[in-house]
Symmetry: C2
Subunit: 218 residues, 2 copies
């Protein structure tokens, strides 16, 4: 094993970033120990814009993961890499149709909801910020609730935790932060609650990170 | 083989939708014949909002693919399903690190650029529509150009066509439609040109679809 491959992975993360949280859950579920480097998206105009971080990740976004001698960004690309290199416990079902359902739900959140209520978009919305975020999440959750009624067991797809669940919980946290009424989404609410009981979701929670401000700690 | 599995796949597509184009390229590359049902995103206030289409895809978006007895949405979830059920020619490299690079680039476009210049977002931008779209694409392409300088061969990652390329070409077409200056992106431009020479990219092109208006046909 090369020195690079043997080194502990380094996760560049922001406690409140929902995309960072997805990766923290995956690392926790798979029992991969890592060092965390906080990148504060607010402080100093956004530490992700520093020359140092840009050299590491031209996308100037968290999360980024240094692992096995490479640096990866994009949360689902990172999670897929972890899935292929650390297959246990699996985050994709064995059946191709069920795998497709997991990916459809994960992408619905990762491409259809989260990017529209991302910090960089909201910054440009000024006073309409809250309303914009609520609209994006509401229309996304309406579709998601309907889909989950077909696919869900205890979790998003059947009874095993999957990539879809890693996207769901952080997105629900965003919805709560933007004061979205969760009443119309009983399936989303039930699954979110079940997932938050799992240790991997607890220890990766934004309220328990090294960079969580004291007043938000639990 | 069940009747459902034996039926020809049906692709719900809009000629100009960049996400639909991604899937049309995948189907063409893998030699999967399919029936196309056009969904006009503009006409009648948007045919994707019809009750009939909503029942098929609660997300009210194209593309959607009926295949093997299920209906899938989200272009990359569909493409991953096709990759797993029709592995030749492969759209993901064998090496996990190279696969991760492909996914990182695909997700950068599918989550980081396209959703922000999507029709539904632009509708809400009014007069600022053009400027908004240009800004989203420009900042995405700046990062992408840097990344491709490390990963590219003839195509986005090495010399084989991958999922990343299926995302790149439709995104460049969007950039051109929004009059983005492509001067600062020589690597993107070179790869796009090489890909557009391939038959699968040609026959799936927006200018050659059953629902392409006469004045836009080539």
């Amino acid at each position: 094993m090369s020195a690079a491959a043997a080194a502990k992975p380094i996760l560049y993360s922001y406690f409140r970033s929902s995309c960072s949280w997805r990766v923290r859950i995956a690392l926790a579920l798979k029992g991969i120990s890592y060092d965390l480097v906080p990148v504060n998206l607010i402080k100093d105009g956004g530490q992700q814009f520093s020359a140092e971080f840009k050299a590491l990740n031209p996308m100037q976004q968290v999360p980024a993961l240094k692992i096995d001698g490479i640096t990866l960004s994009q949360s689902l690309a990172i999670i897929n890499y972890l899935e292929e290199t650390h297959p246990n416990p699996r985050l994709l079902p064995q059946d191709p149709k069920k795998r497709a359902q997991v990916r459809m739900i994960a992408d619905h959140i990762a491409s259809g909801i989260q990017p529209l209520q991302n910090l960089s978009v909201l910054k440009q919305m000024g006073e309409k910020k809250m309303e914009w975020a609520q609209n994006c999440i509401t229309s996304g959750f309406q579709a998601l609730e309907q889909i989950l009624q077909h696919t869900a067991g205890r979790y998003c797809v059947g009874d095993e935790v999957s990539m879809a669940d890693l996207c769901l919980v952080p997105q629900v946290a965003n919805a709560e932060r933007f004061k979205v009424d969760m009443g119309p989404y009983p399936t989303i609410t039930r699954i979110n609650k079940a997932l938050l009981e799992l240790e991997a979701f607890k220890i990766s929670h934004p309220s328990r990170q090294p960079d969580t401000p004291a007043e938000l700690r639990v």
